[in-house]
Symmetry: C3
Subunit: 162 residues, 3 copies
């Protein structure tokens, strides 16, 4: 494995990334978002998160998302070509097959695979906030990955600090 | 992949999720937890983390867990049926087999698989705190996933901010 | 699966982990780091992150790293034996083969595998800060895992709060 060919330059922050900042007005803003899912799929929740960040009034800070479930997960992924999401789902379907034998199968063949798929993706995600906006890259969207087939109402805690 | 059929409603926070909050008393509380592990297994550390959150006095904030190792990891998973943990372990044993060839094998056949299993799970976990309590879902527990067979003393840094 | 044989002791923090701390001087320090990558590899960025933490002046707090891309990721891994990184890369090459069929392949055979490899590793990483230093374990290094073969300039947002 190679290391960096040269030290990466500590480039002065771009416009949207500000310099050191101290302050005494501190905010911890929390909101519970309920999201209705209708089967195994990736659901783009970026607009909803952006709205909550705007509500919080935080200019420089951190947005943490926490999903209160063990059979659905979070990822940040490509937001442009929906084929990426199809390929992701196909990969996961093969990696953690519903046809395999699992001890825990009380709720059907998608029960245990949902837990495993959650374990190897993410229960929380974190995006810094700069100048009042999430610093997501151009191609990044925030997704809830529902791993269960039947309808669910999922609870996401959005925590904004700054 | 489907998008949300309709925008998920920004439901007013439930009782346990509070509205915006500004404050000037800021806490960063850190504690080092040592956990003795006795072989490959998932160890439920939820009660110990809840105790530290209570000690911190933080009412609205964020709890971050950081494991100072590269051959053990963290996950948040089902806390009710222990069969889920057995199935998780079985899946991981097959996905990252100890029988495969690895260049790095100085400490035995479970050495490199432990690093890989750590890389595809989590070194840190994060749970918001509301009303003085972790906002874990009903079925969520916090686990250290020990990937090495011999006994270890693992160091977990618990950071509570609020 | 076994639970903890006995409750892990809440050992008093070691020297480098301090007791509760309240303060009113609050810092949210953000910096954008640009990192030039030259092919699929793991790039150790620990020194650059440590420098930014020192610049921030934060003594007790949290460092969050956020990578603004969906085809490169972050992991914290063994920093001593470079063979670990070789084995990690080999495992990932087999788990998410470039030779498989993907719908999304506009940018070549390493396009979709890069997205999948990102999804099962991490877009953000988080390391507490104590006594002005990252609490990384002895063997832990912070890596950007570049999953694309051609040269890229990757943007990493470093957020230090304390």
């Amino acid at each position: 494995m190679q290391r960096l060919k040269s030290n990466p330059p500590c480039i002065p922050p771009r416009g949207e990334i500000q310099n050191p900042k101290s302050k005494i007005d501190v905010t911890h803003y929390q909101k519970l978002l309920r999201i209705s899912t209708t089967g195994k799929s990736l659901y783009n929740i970026t607009p909803e998160i952006a709205t909550i960040v705007a509500e919080s009034g935080v200019r420089t800070g951190l947005c943490t998302l926490f999903l209160r479930h063990t059979s659905a997960s979070l990822i940040i992924q490509e937001n442009a070509d929906p084929d990426v999401l199809l390929d992701l789902a196909e990969f996961m379907a093969k990696l953690v097959p519903e046809s395999a034998h699992y001890i825990h199968n009380a709720e059907g063949p998608d029960d245990m695979p949902a837990h495993i798929r959650t374990a190897i993706t993410h229960t929380s995600e974190h995006i810094p906030i700069n100048n009042g906006h999430l610093v997501l890259g151009t191609w990044q969207g925030i997704y809830i990955w529902e791993h269960r087939q039947r309808n669910h109402s999922r609870e996401l805690v959005v925590h904004v600090s700054g």
